[in-house]
């Protein structure tokens, strides 16, 4: 058996060795080197166009097949509302009622109303009916829960997650889907995992190394380069195709960058285009290791578990950081519904009370390629990352909005709402005021 096996073994080892080398060289040339320099070969955009063509074909086939067999294509829940709602908003009605209420007593005459309120007197017993109805309407069908279930797609992107009723419609389609699975799990996933591991380890190693340098311009310069490089590698690890708009409004030192939050990937997406100081709670394990090494290279704001409850401490550290113009802009996600973490709720008002310039950023994901939404009650973090890495791609747009500051006579909550409205308008997202009541769902 000896002489029989060994040349075969040798051949096998040689083949493995060669394929690994080829693999890594390709990886290096096409992905890591461009990441270091921030260039792009345009491979990803080509990939995107190709995918779109395939998806269109797949959808057409499915619809044709469904018509033939009279199948129900999409899960009926969130495409249409259960009820027909009125176009006026709750806010407008409330303002009407309040205007009616105060004006009657102030000048004694009937108030001039152009709105839909039915009577000219200040308050009617039936006014509650309107709010009662709106309340019940929101219980039956509200924008938020609709938003929080993954968006149903009109075109199918060959992922069974997006289409629950994928039945055997045609052999060709099933074959294509099978091929898709093979490509995604067999080729793309390992590739992305390798990249992710490379990116993270490089980050940890380099930032620790930079930590030994004395504070100064060289350190800042190097730390910036290292952070950008590693985040770019991570972006490629997810095959994220990002379009940045209005880069002239990018956050500057001494400011706070505020963005809407859809998934944990948001951080990677923003940080690959600019350097930010991150805020958060120190975790254990791998996350903690990454956090500790990052803070060696440039000042991020990490809180211990115990410090998080102290609002004043949090506010003080944030404002100290902001006052120092040499430090990087802070990155904050005021919504925090995605993260089950009380410290994030603290930042909701805190970040707007500090009184520095706020740079709003809107992030919108294109659901056609892979759904980036993280339903934290359904999936854990690892599961989520695996799903992300086995999607086709993550396509999103980032808009940098012009900076805003708190105006005279505006309190923190109003300012926060103004910023949120600007972000929502830009991203075409549904604008919901984030009311800081103590019945938030994420207080667990």
């Amino acid at each position: 058996m000896g002489p029989f096996m060994s040349p075969f073994n040798n051949l096998l080892c040689m083949l493995l060795g060669i394929s690994f080398t080829v693999w890594f060289t390709l990886l290096l040339v096409f992905i890591i080197v461009p990441a270091i320099f921030g260039l792009s070969f345009g491979i990803r955009s080509l990939y995107m166009k190709m995918l779109l063509k395939v998806f269109k074909w797949a959808t057409v086939r499915m619809e044709r097949g469904a018509k033939e067999k009279n199948h129900l294509l999409y899960k009926p829940y969130s495409l249409n509302g259960i009820i027909a709602k009125e176009p006026t908003s709750l806010e407008e009605e409330l303002k009407e009622i309040r205007r009616n209420g105060s004006s009657q007593d102030l000048d004694g005459s009937a108030s001039l109303t152009t709105g839909p309120s039915p009577s000219s007197s200040e308050f009617e017993m039936s006014d509650t009916f309107y709010f009662c109805r709106r309340g019940i309407e929101s219980i039956v069908d509200d924008e938020v829960t609709k938003r929080f279930t993954a968006e149903e797609l009109d075109s199918w992107n060959l992922l069974t997650r997006s289409n629950y009723n994928f039945n055997h419609i045609s052999t060709r389609l099933t074959v294509l889907w099978g091929l898709g699975v093979v490509i995604r799990y067999g080729f793309l996933l390992p590739l992305r995992l390798t990249l992710a591991i490379t990116g993270v380890s490089l980050l940890v190693v380099f930032t620790t190394m930079i930590g030994f340098l004395p504070n100064g311009r060289v350190k800042n310069f190097l730390s910036e380069k290292v952070h950008l490089m590693c985040y770019r590698i991570c972006v490629r690890a997810l095959t994220a195709i990002i379009t940045y708009h209005h880069s002239e409004n990018k956050p500057k030192n001494g400011g706070i960058c505020v963005a809407n939050h859809t998934s944990p990937i948001d951080i990677i997406i923003l940080a690959s285009d600019g350097c930010y100081a991150m805020v958060g709670q120190i975790h254990g394990g791998l996350m903690g290791l990454i956090q500790k090494s990052m803070v060696k290279a440039c000042p991020h704001i990490w809180f211990e578990r115990s410090e998080v409850k102290d609002r004043h401490l949090v506010a003080k550290r944030l404002s100290d950081h902001v006052k120092d113009k040499s430090k990087l802009p802070i990155l904050i996600f005021p919504e925090g519904t995605c993260i089950n973490n009380t410290s994030v709720m603290m930042f909701k008002k805190g970040s707007f009370e500090i009184g520095s310039t706020v740079y709003p950023v809107a992030i919108k994901y294109d659901p056609r390629f892979g759904d980036a939404f993280w339903n934290s009650s359904k999936f854990g973090m690892v599961n989520y990352l695996l799903r992300m890495m086995s999607s086709w791609a993550i396509v999103c747009s980032v808009w940098y909005l012009p900076p805003m500051s708190r105006q005279e006579g505006e309190d923190a909550v109003q300012f926060a709402n103004r910023v949120k409205a600007a972000i929502a308008r830009q991203g075409g997202l549904v604008d919901l005021l984030c009311v800081n009541t103590n019945v938030e769902a994420n207080e667990k």
Binding site: Y77, I82, A84, G101, S102, E122, M125, T128, G135, T145
Partner: protein
């Protein structure tokens, strides 16, 4: 209709529910989906916390009262049947329903709608809206923009107009009378699609 029938079978006593509330099978299924979506932890019943998660409801000045209407006194949870029965109050009135003398009044009758609205005011459930209870609602609706004195005078005016037996409270009958001219069906109904 294959998949829809199986959902219906999972709900216990769904025939009775449909008869009592007047919802169609399609509505029941939609409401069941909604119930499941609200019941994030999958326990099969809802608690006030789950309602509180609805942001539009949190913004509503009488949001907590509406939530309270779902929970009968002493109960901490609401199951699917109760959920649907409460929502049935907001079905538009069936105009062609024959008036059988022995059948119980439908949940979405004008009178029952008024009773639902009445309980939003009458938090201590003593059958009367006291001046205090009225003030509380006024405060919630008119908020911080109106002074306390203005609130008091509005409350006085409202009670004066509605209180017929001069006992300084508004009973259900007085409530009903003061809202005679209001189109309750229009204001307290939700148009369920399909």
């Amino acid at each position: 209709m294959g998949s829809t029938n199986s959902t219906l079978l999972k709900i216990p006593n769904v025939e009775v529910l449909m008869q009592e509330t007047g919802f169609s099978p399609a509505h029941i299924i939609r409401l069941h989906d909604r119930f499941k979506a609200l019941d994030k932890e999958g326990r099969g019943h809802l608690c006030p916390h789950d309602f509180g998660a609805i942001k539009e409801l949190a913004m509503n000045p009488i949001g907590d009262r509406i939530i309270g209407a779902f929970f009968s006194p002493g109960k901490e949870t609401v199951d699917f049947h109760t959920f649907v029965k409460i929502l049935a109050h907001f079905r538009p009135v069936d105009k062609d329903r024959p008036k059988e003398p022995n059948s119980p009044e439908p949940i979405n009758s004008r009178s029952n709608k008024l009773k639902f609205a009445f309980q939003l005011y009458d938090q201590d459930k003593d059958g009367k809206i006291s001046r205090d209870e009225l003030l509380q609602v006024l405060r919630a609706m008119l908020g911080m923009q109106v002074t306390d004195e203005q609130l008091e005078s509005i409350a006085d005016r409202t009670i004066q107009e509605a209180d017929l037996d001069r006992d300084d409270t508004i009973s259900f009958e007085e409530f009903r009378k003061s809202l005679e001219k209001i189109n309750i069906d229009h204001k307290m109904s939700i148009r369920f699609l399909r």
